[in-house]
């Protein structure tokens, strides 16, 4: 398949996927068994009032009409209002998004550093201690519930060893929030040379980041190990050895660099899954990102934020997948089929 045809096909698929996601998000609220107008007004509202509210909310129109209105609003940046926080959902979302990004990036960083090192160590000595450790971590990563791991870490480091602060937020209550530049506390406090805030935010970040990092750790380790084994047995590594390069040079400069290509795409894909895991981790650590926001909306039956989050996260996930596929296609000439 030529590059242009592949691109066209992939973009057509993206349009279809985004359309599907928007339909799912739309139906989420509009096929609810209950009457949103009535549930907003309470059981004591008169039938007349409910009818008025229905008209106001546009619920008396046909479903396709309502869908067009809904999508029109979305494209204007209007995601509806949360009746729990009394703010527009878009505003709430922008406010909380940096916290989730900070958590996800920190988790990914931990997973990449640990996963790649462990994967390389496992590949260098197959069936050695690091290989067994990698297998063990892999099984743990897909078998243990992430919220439970978070609680175990709290038990160990907070309530038993007393080395880390209680899991309540992103910063100690007596530390001032660093001036907002990116919204990522760690980055902001470095940029404003606020060392007290940096120390505090790092202490609060480490446990949730490690917890969330366990999810992508297993696949990254497995991928690195497999790619390294393949690279180490390849002709170019043999050639490098024959040229007399040192073992370190061969492993790090030649084999690892080639092995990292599939790992990079794997990391991209993991980003989407991290969002799902972030919901659970944010609940455990009362981390005020979009996961905790989603959780509180679910508990409070606040539908506008839930609907918007499904839409936004779904589209983001699709875009990440597309980018990763494109990168992969650009890097690896072998992928020219389907």
């Amino acid at each position: 398949m030529t590059r242009r045809r592949y691109l066209a096909r992939r973009l057509a698929l993206l349009v279809l996927v985004v359309f599907g996601i928007s339909i799912v998000a739309f139906l989420l609220v509009h096929v609810l068994p209950g009457d949103p107008a009535r549930s907003r007004l309470g059981v004591f509202a008169t039938e007349e009032l409910v009818q008025l509210k229905r008209a106001e909310m546009g619920l008396d129109k046909s479903l396709p009409e309502q869908y067009v209105t809904y999508m029109g609003n979305v494209f204007r940046g209007d995601l509806g209002d949360s009746w729990r926080t009394h703010n527009p959902v878009a505003e709430d979302f922008v406010e909380r998004f940096p916290a989730t990004i900070e958590l996800a990036l920190a988790a990914l960083l931990i997973a990449v550093v640990l996963g790649v090192s462990l994967g390389v160590a496992a590949a260098l000595r197959r069936n050695g201690p690091f290989d067994h450790l990698a297998t063990l971590l892999g099984i743990l990563g897909i078998s243990a519930p992430v919220f439970w791991i978070g609680l175990l870490l709290i038990i160990a480091f907070v309530t038993q060893l007393h080395v880390l602060p209680a899991p309540l937020g992103r910063l100690a209550p007596d530390v001032e929030v660093p001036t907002q530049i990116t919204g990522l506390y760690v980055v902001d406090s470095i940029l404003t040379a606020n060392w007290e805030a940096l120390r505090s935010s790092l202490l609060y970040l480490v446990l949730p980041a490690v917890t969330l990092g366990i999810l992508p750790l297993a696949p990254i380790t497995r991928m690195t190990r497999a790619a390294m084994i393949e690279a180490l047995e390849s002709d170019f590594v043999r050639a490098a050895r024959a040229l007399g390069l040192s073992r370190t040079q061969v492993v790090l400069k030649i084999a690892l660099r080639n092995a990292l290509i599939p790992v990079v795409s794997m990391v991209g894909l993991q980003l989407g899954y991290l969002v799902g895991g972030a919901v659970l981790v944010e609940i455990v650590f009362t981390w005020s990102g979009i996961g905790l926001y989603l959780y509180r909306s679910v508990i409070g039956l606040d539908f506008a934020p839930i609907q918007s989050l499904v839409l936004i996260v779904g589209v983001l996930f699709a875009l990440i997948n597309l980018t990763v596929d494109m990168l992969y296609f650009a890097i690896d000439p072998r992928i020219r089929v389907a």
Binding site: I21, T159, L280
Partner: protein, 300 residues
Amino acid sequence: MATAALVPRPLRSALDVPSRRVASVWYQVSQNTLTVFGLILIAVVVVFAIFAPLIAPANPVSGDLLNTTQPPSSQHLMGTDQFGRDIFSRVVHGARVDLAVAGIVVSVAFVLSVVLGALAGFAGRVVDELVMRAMDVVFSFPPLILAIGIAVTIQQGGMLSLVVALTVIAIPPMVRITRAEILHRKESLYVEAARAIGSSPLRVLAVHLVPNSLPPLVVQATLTFGYVILETAGLSFIGVGVKPPAPEWGIMVSEGSPYVRTGEWWISLFPGLMIFVTVLGFNLVGNGLLDVLNPRRRRQ
């Protein structure tokens, strides 16, 4: 396996009847320590589920309000929770809830995936495109977010909404596997032979293609079983799955989490451990089956 190689080709397929195949798989599985360990874990949980009322020393939903948040002791093996309920009894009864949800989800997803995957792979063209693009759409959601969306939408259904949400996210990988198997086998000699002697397409599909495509699907179903238990617990932890006071593991971890911060660790620890042990069991068995059924993956 060694004897099969000595048998001439026409006879070999006659010998390869399902019961023999199952026996051979069973033998190979039993050679792998980790897989056997996984089987034992699953067996323990299944025994818990079946004999829950006999094993559990106390009622799982009504507690003794004079004995709340007691640490593990000889009287309460895993301690008591904030309502004075015996955690061990709740953990044992929890096996029923979680295994039942996962059992239903995996069975329904299995049947639907075989039908959809076979349809897509066998009919091809428009049907194939329709089915597979629909799967792409489902696949392009982060699973937990999609499940939350579905579970919230049909929340009046209670347990039903949970089952529907988890079934939807379990289907796409199984459909892909089935379709790939069917596509791959459609061109094989035995299908051609069956066609040549006048078998109808439906018969070719039902008698030859589908049964031969099942092994990789069984592996996927085993792995899915563990995954569904994990997601059931996750959704219940968030509050959109099974509802309290049902003794579901995820709810129990969630109910204990505020107490973890004040040092009462046992309320969340043991139910979480049960989730881990059960999912671990299914993952070990799934990986073991994968090694047996797919020789390329076997380790030297």
